[in-house]
């Protein structure tokens, strides 16, 4: 019985884990600037578990017109978007696009289904794509459960500035 305990602990939901992110969208010197479409998600190393944190796109355009370019968030579309019944299925993490600046985000673990992530290896992804502009994907691995608060920092080169993810147990 004692031997079973650690296994049991592993399968327990990580109810307390919280995720926060800081995202910097760079100022770009371009003739035609459109706010980028952006997606942030967490995926397990076997890609079987994917939890969306945020999706910024033109969700309020009439007749779902803004969905036309979601496929350009290529990684996100492949891993998650194309399997979702848009736009309803993305309600919990959809937001409007944002122009250059720094954004502090905290995610509602319960609403996003982050409370029942099993222990294991994960990757945090952020992908941004801009109309008549470029596309950039950044990712960083981390392990759950986190025994103490950890902050992972990523540096974009084109469409993204500095991005950090904080995981708190």
């Amino acid at each position: 019985m004692k031997k079973l305990l650690p296994l049991l602990a592993l399968s327990l939901p990580l109810s307390a884990t919280t995720f926060e992110a800081n995202v910097e969208l760079p100022q770009l010197d371009v003739a035609e600037y459109h706010a980028p479409y952006l997606a942030m998600w967490v995926q397990s190393s076997d890609r079987k578990t994917i939890k969306n944190l945020a999706l910024w796109y033109d969700h309020d355009k009439a007749k779902g017109k803004g969905q036309e370019w979601l496929k350009d968030l290529r990684q996100w579309w492949r891993r998650s978007g194309r399997g979702l019944d848009m736009p309803a299925a993305a309600d919990a993490f959809t937001g409007a696009t944002k122009t250059s600046g720094s954004y502090q985000l905290s995610f509602d673990s319960a609403k996003l289904g982050l409370t029942d992530l099993p222990a294991g290896e994960y990757k945090f992804y952020i992908e941004a794509v801009r109309e008549v502009g470029g596309r950039e994907v950044l990712s960083v691995p981390f392990t759950l459960p986190a025994d103490k608060a950890l902050t992972l920092t990523l540096q974009g080169k084109s469409e993204l500035g500095q991005v950090s993810l904080t995981v708190k147990p």
Binding site: Q67, E68, W69
Partner: protein, 275 residues
């Protein structure tokens, strides 16, 4: 008499350009293969050319082109146009899932030498093989008589929203490709597995070449070669993102009488996306 002459002429013409449409490369080129909008439209070019995806030779005739949707329904080709070097049509993807654009043909072809040593062929170019005619026209005791059962198929795939697999069901006629890896889920640096079938059975030994598009802007064909294994399987590693043209050919002597050999040709266009 006149009729005989024209038959002979047509025969000679057919022989002077044997397998004309195989010598050149037939292709569909969709403007997009992965779509996220509701009721998305996609436009498709269809042509025959040596340089892949450069429409500089002949238009692909649209009368044999069909489109099947995710629910097995027939999808209408809209705004069709056939120009000198290229045909074009639009599709509206009203259902979520994977669509297949295809053109397939099959039939019999006989060749022989007549008493004067002249090469003859049946059926006439552009005509369908009619079995009733076969017995009358083709001399069974002719020199070097060869009767082939042939099939040809050209395809491509497009997905709106979530990919589906209903359109992968083979007809079990001719040379066909059954995707193992979804053809709208191809990425640079990854490999894709496909199964080739001849009349529904593994097309072991089928020869495959894969060519990246944009041939005009490089000096070599850069073809990727593969041979189907005993189960008919091939694996293609995609070196980089882009549009690719796959061509497979198969030949054996397992034909149904009166044919003595059967050959199949298959080609398809695949889009490979960057990671």
């Amino acid at each position: 008499m006149k009729r005989t002459v024209s038959t002979l002429l047509a025969g000679a013409l057919a022989l002077s350009i044997p397998f004309a449409s195989q010598a050149h490369r037939a292709w569909f080129l969709p403007a997009a293969t992965v779509l996220s909008a509701d009721n998305a439209w996609v436009t498709v070019d269809a042509a025959v050319s040596n340089d892949i995806f450069h429409a500089d030779h002949a238009a692909y005739r649209l009368n044999g082109v069909s489109v099947v949707g995710p629910k097995g329904n027939k999808v209408e080709l809209q705004n069709t146009n056939t120009g000198k070097h290229r045909s074009n049509f639009d599709l509206q993807l009203t259902d979520e899932g994977t669509y297949k654009i295809f053109s397939a043909s099959s039939g019999l072809r006989a060749r022989w030498e007549d008493a004067n040593g002249k090469r003859q062929g049946w059926p006439r170019r552009g005509q369908k093989a009619d079995m009733a005619e076969f017995d009358k026209v083709v001399p069974k005791d002719a020199k070097n008589l060869s009767v082939s059962q042939f099939s040809r198929r050209t395809e491509t795939f497009i997905t709106a929203g979530t990919p589906s697999t209903e359109v992968f069901k083979p007809t079990n006629q001719g040379l066909e490709l059954v995707p193992v890896t979804h053809p709208n889920d191809l990425y640079a640096g990854e490999s894709a597995q496909f199964t080739l079938l001849m009349d529904g059975k593994p097309a072991a030994g089928a020869e495959v070449i894969v060519l990246p598009g944009g041939m005009r802007y490089r000096s070599a064909q850069n073809e990727i070669k593969a041979v189907a294994d005993e189960q008919g399987n091939i694996s293609i590693a995609w070196p980089e993102a882009g549009m690719y043209w796959l061509s497979a050919s198969y030949e054996d002597n397992q034909a149904k009488a009166p044919a003595t050999n059967r050959r199949g040709g298959y080609s398809a266009t695949f889009e490979v996306l960057p990671q």
